[in-house]
Structure formats: C-alpha cells, structure tokens
C-alpha cells in the first residue's frame, strides 16, 4: 500500500456509534447566539430525559463552558478521553487543554485538533450529540460535514441583512452537499423587523426568539438560564426536534 493513511479518521464512526443523532449548530455570523443555542438545547434535551453530549468545536474561541459555568473539570483518561458529565451533559471542549490561553489556529491546525478530539473522545450512549461550530463555512464546518457524516444542521440567524446574506450561503452549501438541515432559528428578533421566514423560503423556520435582556445576567448560571424566555422558546424547538426526526430538509 503506497498512500499514507491517517488512522484517526477510521475510528471516528466507531467513537460515535453509540450516538443516535448529531446536531451541528451553525450560522453565518458570530455573535448571533450559536453557542448559547447549543448549550441551552443540550441542557433542555437533557432535562427532557434524553442522554446528551455537547462538543464545542469553536476551537479558537470556545465559549459553551462559560455559558454553562463549567470550570475545574478535566476529562478522565480511560483508553481515550471520557468527557466529564456536568448538568447531566457529557461535555467536551478544547478548553480543558488550552485553559485561559489564546490558541490561534489556522486551517490545518483546526482540522488536526478536531480530528484528535473526535478520535480520542469516548462518548457514552447518547440520544443527542450537540456540536457547537464556529460561524460560516470555514474549516470547522467543512470538517464537520466531512467527518461527522450523520450530522444534521440547525442554523441560527438574526433578521439582520448582514447575517441573512451569509446564512443563505450556508444553507445553499448544505443543501448542495445533501446535508440534512433541521431548520433555522431566528434569534434576537426585534418585533418590527421583517420575519426571516419571508426571506428564507423553502427552509423550515423552527422558531423566532425575541431579544432577551435577561440572558447576559444568566450566563454561567444554569438554573437562571433555563428560566429565561430564550430557554422557554428553545424548549418548544427541542420538543419538535426530538419528536420530528423525519422532517429534515434534504
């Protein structure tokens, strides 16, 4: 055999064999609530009785640990890395290893870091693995499509023309690649703005979430977070997602 092979790629499917559904939370722009959605969706699905994992793949700017108030934890080393369970969620992030240090990663580094995490993380038996991805259609999203072949995308946007412009491209790319799209969530809605559902014809809009002033004060406090209007709306969406496995846009 002449070609070199990276064996880490071959083990990814086995590592995810016990996961029923993989949901990648994506979007066009930063600061629109992807990480918040991923974290609250994971908490909510767990609260509904599902077994849930949360994987933060925003490798240069991980933030789900901040949203969930996670600190002082480390994965257990047992023939790989076993993600710690926190708030009922199996949680994995590069932040365990990078700590407070800035971790500037270029494309090849992002792919390698992601590959390593996917190859060595030993998830338990899960109903849902929620994956927080960085914005846009860059390296991490392309690698999620390449390596997490069963991933369904949940796309977050605001009604801003700037966010919509990019999110349309994200959805177009996912559709072209035959990647399942669960639907779109419109976040930070101002009630006088034109609804996103009018702009994104043909794509299911799963919910419209108004701008929630209480969110910022709830960051890091799971109990307060789950009482916000944002979390209430995410719960409605989570119920739909958990019940409606077949209504995927392909």
């Amino acid at each position: 055999m002449l070609e070199t092979v990276d064996p880490r790629i071959n083990i990814i499917d086995k590592r995810l064999a016990g996961v029923k559904r993989i949901i990648a939370v994506s979007g066009g722009k930063g600061g629109i609530g992807k990480s918040l959605t991923a974290a609250v969706l994971a908490l909510t699905l767990s609260g509904l009785g599902h077994r849930v994992g949360l994987l933060d793949l925003d490798l240069s700017a991980p933030s789900t640990h901040v949203i969930l108030g996670i600190e002082g934890l480390y994965p257990e080393e047992e023939k790989g890395l076993v993600p710690p369970e926190v708030h009922g969620i199996e949680f994995m992030s590069i932040v365990y290893f990078s700590g407070d240090n800035p971790t500037p990663l270029r494309g090849i580094d992002i792919s390698n870091a992601m590959l390593e995490l996917l190859a060595v993380t030993r998830w338990g038996s899960l109903d849902f693995l929620i994956v927080d991805t960085p914005p846009g259609i860059g390296d991490a999203t392309l690698d999620v499509i390449r390596w997490l072949k069963r991933a369904e995308f949940l796309v977050i946007t605001t009604s801003s023309k700037v966010a919509l412009e990019t999110v349309k491209k994200v959805i177009k790319m996912l559709t072209e690649l035959n990647v399942p799209v669960i639907g779109v969530i419109e976040n930070m809605r101002r009630w006088d703005s034109k609804p996103v559902r009018e702009e994104l014809k043909g794509v299911p809009v799963l919910g419209e979430i108004g701008f929630d002033d209480k969110i910022e004060d709830s960051i890091g406090d799971v109990n307060r977070l789950l009482k916000t209007d944002f979390a209430v709306k995410i719960k409605e969406i989570a119920l739909n997602i958990s019940l409606d496995e077949k209504a995927l846009l392909r």
């Binding site: 880490r8 994965p75 890395l81 990078s98």
Partner: protein
C-alpha cells in the same frame, strides 16, 4: 492513556486498508508518529498488541514505529526550531499537548519573536506509511 484510543484507530485503519487491498493477513505495518503527540511508545506498542491479537488478520503483524521530530517554523520571522528547544514548559502544559497536540499553539511561542503564529513543519499526528501482507 489516550495511547489506547490511538492504537484502536491504527488497528481499525489497518484492517480497513488491508481489506481494500485484498490482504488476508497483514505481516507488517510501518507507523510514523509525530513527536508532538508525545506518545508513550511502550504503552502504545502494548495496546497495539493487545488490541491486534484478537483480530485474525492483524494478530501476527510486525509493527515498526518511527517518531518524527517536531519542527516548527514561525510564519512571522521565519525562525525554525524544534520541540526540545522550546523553553520552559510546565508539566501541565506538556500533558495538555500530549492529550490535544494542537494546543501547542496555546503554550509555545516563537523563541525568536514570541509569535504564536507558527506552523508545525514535521512531527504532528500519526500516519500509517505502509502495510505489507499476503
């Protein structure tokens, strides 16, 4: 002990690749291991043997491993240096890099200009260079 996880990946890849090549038995595999992975080669070899011996087609394969020196090049000033020349990393930092090698970018800076923007020229990841069999 993430050596076990990587050994499991190697066994799975060797079995899959040997099937593609139509091999019934794998006699030898050559691995290139990046120094940045900081793998304990004894544990890794033990794990490969333990995991391989219950898999018929790879049960008797010989494993040859070569550790490739980790060499970095600064994208800002062009300086090249290797992992051993990287000054003063703590045990915790070394352990973090062992478990997630790309976090080298969190702890290593160019010794010349202090930039974190460097590329890993050699010595990252793990590769199967060839498989021999019949």
């Amino acid at each position: 002990m993430h050596e076990w996880a990587l050994a499991e990946a190697v066994i799975a890849a060797v079995i899959e690749e040997s099937r593609k090549e139509g091999l019934k038995e794998v006699t030898k595999v050559k691995l290139k291991i990046g120094e940045l992975q900081q793998i304990e080669t004894e544990i890794f070899e033990f794990a490969l043997n333990e995991l391989g011996k219950v898999q018929g087609s790879v049960a008797k394969m010989e494993v040859e491993m070569a550790v490739e020196r980790a060499v970095f090049r600064c994208r800002v000033c062009g300086n090249e240096w290797d992992l051993r020349e990287t000054p003063g990393m703590s045990e915790e930092e070394t352990e973090a890099i062992h478990l997630a090698p790309e976090v080298a970018h969190a702890y290593i800076r160019c010794p010349s200009c202090k930039s974190p923007d460097f590329e890993v020229l050699h010595g990252r990841g793990i590769l199967i260079e060839y498989i021999k069999g019949r």
